[in-house]
Symmetry: C2
Subunit: 82 residues, 2 copies
């Protein structure tokens, strides 16, 4: 079994309104710095043991589907490195 | 003025306990998949206009220090691309 470092980034689907991002954007704009399209995502990082990259990815997909992302609301990307 | 895409990742300092990460870790472990050291970070992405990469970075540093990260609690990384 090898140890893999995993990072899962979970974002609101781009067509959904992101109130946290919009609030941050407005606050920055009030500071006098113009920014656009602020969006907030979450990254969950952890370590997992598996015999190879493929097995690690399968486990991580299961974790993401069960716990981390709701397909109605979220998109996600998975990074795995040894 | 060019448009830059910015991503700021804000994490709890590694020496601080991360209750959200720990809760996720326990839930995954109860599912029967062993994971370790789960930590949760936030990524704020936005667009900004500046005449060059250096000016963009200066503006982003100011935004991060004023709004996004508390140096007592957080570490952060900044990615900027044109």
């Amino acid at each position: 079994m090898k140890e893999f470092k995993v990072a899962v980034k979970i974002s609101l689907r781009p067509e959904l309104f992101d109130p946290e991002g919009k609030t941050i954007e407005r606050a920055i704009n009030r500071l006098g710095i113009g920014v656009q399209d602020a969006r907030v995502s979450k990254v969950v990082e952890f370590k997992i043991h598996a015999s190879n990259q493929g097995e690690a990815r399968k486990k991580v997909e299961e974790i993401v589907k069960k716990f981390l992302a709701n397909p109605v609301l979220h998109t996600y990307t998975i990074q795995i490195e040894e």
